[in-house]
């Protein structure tokens, strides 16, 4: 091919243009949300959880009954147009009781996860950041607490504090933060040698600034994922405690307690056990799957 000087023209370099970024600006959270939306399983799970949470408030309004009034004439009615989920042995409407239970179960799950999340993050963060003797002391204390079966600790606390909503949350949170503290400590240990943390230190940043502005935001993904797994664990523990009679006291109710009452009538009226069990299972499954989805969405290594 014949190329001549005249065929070329000098266009120079457009400095301005070479530094331009075409991709729209996206924060970390927008990016994570975009990836979560692409995961149908996680989105269905999220949808279910949101529906359950809304229904725990809206559901009871849809029927004329409440969850605590006995109606002995109408005991053990199977599901019908009148009582959508049937009634229990004392004639209480199960639809009402399922949503009353949902409120308590979800509340326990979320509050316990939140409390253990805050405690675990702070203890793990401080332990990893300062290191040395303090780290050693905190980690050995956590080792000891983890080595004790958490059920025994929970039962002892419940026996000491009595049963009820607040004691359950305290008892579950006391054993719940341990795993997260270890997790956050590991993350902080890895992050604190990163150059951006060193850069902040050369600029004279204080320890609290380093922890709050640089270290914790970078572990937030891990923390959130671990919390989505902590919620079902707390709901399940509460269900278990109520099941053995240590949890929520009647006439208040939770899913675990409903299942416990249902088991007594299992042979004659299986729906009394099956309905609350379905709700427990669906919630657990949804939260687990959402947790999986969040882990994928929040992991920057999977960014495309």
């Amino acid at each position: 091919m014949d190329l001549r000087q005249e065929q070329f023209k000098h266009i120079g370099i457009n400095e301005e243009k070479s530094q331009q970024i075409i991709r729209p600006s996206m924060t970390y959270w927008q990016d994570a949300w975009r990836r979560l939306k692409k995961n149908p399983v996680a989105m269905i799970s999220l949808f279910l959880i949101v529906i359950f949470a809304i229904m725990s408030f809206v559901g009871p309004m849809l029927t004329p009954y409440d969850y605590f009034t006995n109606d002995l004439m109408n005991g053990d009615k199977t599901p019908s147009m009148k009582h959508w989920f049937g009634t229990d042995g004392l004639g209480r409407d199960l639809w009402e009781r399922v949503w009353a239970g949902a409120k308590i179960s979800l509340f326990i799950g979320v509050v316990t996860a939140f409390v253990s999340g805050v405690v675990g993050t702070l203890v793990g963060g401080v332990s990893g950041f300062f290191g040395g003797k303090l780290d050693m002391f905190i980690m050995r204390a956590i080792d000891v607490l983890i080595a004790l079966p958490s059920l025994i600790i929970t039962l002892l606390i419940m026996l000491y504090l009595g049963s009820g909503l607040v004691p359950i949350i305290i008892a579950l949170a006391i054993t719940g933060w341990l795993g997260l503290a270890r997790l956050v400590r590991g993350q902080v240990l890895a992050l604190k040698e990163q150059e951006f943390v060193l850069a902040a230190r050369t600029l004279g940043a204080s320890s609290s600034r380093l922890i709050l502005k640089h270290l914790i935001p970078n572990t937030l993904g891990v923390i959130i994922v671990s919390l989505t797994f902590a919620i079902p664990a707390a709901i399940f523990s509460e269900a278990f405690l109520s099941f053995i009679g240590l949890g929520i006291q009647p006439p208040q109710t939770s899913w675990g307690q409903l299942a416990s009452l249902g088991i007594a009538a299992m042979q004659s009226y299986p729906y009394q056990l099956i309905i609350p069990s379905i709700f427990i299972s669906l919630t657990m499954l949804s939260l687990q799957l959402l947790g999986d989805g969040l882990r994928d969405a929040l992991d920057p290594r999977l960014r495309k």
């Binding site: 400095e15 530094q19 970024i21 951006f196 060193l198 902040a200 050369t202 600029l203 502005k213 935001p217």
Partner: protein, 319 residues
């Protein structure tokens, strides 16, 4: 030319790391040098020789095990809290990895403005103006302030790192291999930016690198490190024309020459063996195991770091 004043003086600096079960890693073992105001001191050596540790100890990221670093007449390893904060305003660092050195969760504007926030230099509109000005200085523009680090290329990120270190108007900057993670075309861009900033702002650099030709280009004087010790130091012209230490000779002979005829006939000094472990090193010269000229005395005594000719220091028994 008037004799320039010494800005920072390192005296017998030691940094040991305890690596468990009684083993001590001597990352930096008794090195001394001085940097004059407005000059660039290059520091070269192979991986693991303690260059970065030296830089980080000088900037107080690590506590020194022994020795002193004297800045403005004060030992920076004995400062109280207020003085230490004042020192962070004077001395800054540019890091090696442009991907790890920017917090992925905060915007570029906040990264550059972090020093301003920590030292309460400006606030509100003035702060924003200052950040735009800094971005402009390093060849970026103000639209970039609201972006996040992952949206930038390696070279751009490194310039953001430079803008961050300039925000508090330091006098002394430790450049810890600022160009080794960049590709060659971008390396020149960043080095030229550093040279331009030095001229305009009167900065003093400690330039750590392992690319010898780049170090020669930017440095007034060059120090060569081997296994935690300084083996030779001279002005860059002198060092490249007349290397005295066998290790420096070997290093320099490894620089490729951009001329095929010369390159073909070039004689290389090849080193044999690996760098010995810096954990509990044996007495004597650190380089003896790989040195062609090693004699008995080399394994008995550590050679002194002495001045052979004016401003040319070397630590070798042979020379």
């Amino acid at each position: 030319m008037a004799e320039k004043k010494t800005l920072i003086e390192v005296k017998n600096l030691k940094k040991y790391f305890n690596v468990g079960s009684g083993a001590i890693l001597k990352a930096v073992d008794d090195i001394s040098f001085a940097i004059k105001e407005g000059e660039t001191l290059g520091l070269v050596g192979e991986s693991g020789c303690g260059k970065s540790t030296t830089g980080r100890t000088i900037i107080r990221l690590y506590e020194a095990t022994g020795g002193e670093v004297i800045y403005n007449g004060k030992n920076i390893h004995g400062l109280n809290k207020a003085e230490a904060k004042e020192f962070t305003k004077q001395a800054q660092m540019i890091f090696q990895d442009p991907y790890a050195s920017l917090n992925p969760r905060i915007t570029v504007g906040d990264i550059v403005g972090e020093g301003i926030d920590i030292h309460n230099l400006y606030s509100g509109k003035q702060r924003t103006e200052k950040i735009y000005e800094l971005l402009n200085t390093v060849g970026l523009n103000k639209e970039h302030a609201s972006r996040f680090p992952h949206e930038f290329s390696g070279g751009q990120r490194q310039r953001i790192g430079i803008a961050r270190s300039l925000a508090i108007e330091p006098k002394f900057i430790v450049c810890d291999e600022p160009i080794s993670a960049l590709d060659v075309s971008i390396q020149a861009q960043v080095v030229n930016l550093l040279i331009k900033l030095q001229r305009e702002l009167g900065l003093t650099y400690l330039f750590i690198a392992h690319d010898l030709s780049m170090v020669k280009h930017i440095s007034d004087r060059v120090g060569v490190m081997y296994l935690g010790t300084m083996v030779e130091m001279a002005s860059s012209e002198e060092l490249y024309m007349n290397p005295l230490h066998p290790y420096t000779q070997a290093l320099l002979s490894a620089i490729p020459i951009a001329d095929p005829h010369v390159e073909k006939s070039r004689q290389r000094v090849l080193l044999e063996g690996d760098v010995p472990s810096p954990i509990n090193p044996p007495p004597g010269c650190r380089f003896k195991a790989r040195c062609r000229y090693a004699k008995d005395i080399c394994s008995q005594e550590m050679p002194a770091f002495r001045e052979i000719s004016k401003d040319h220091f070397v630590a070798c028994h042979i020379v």
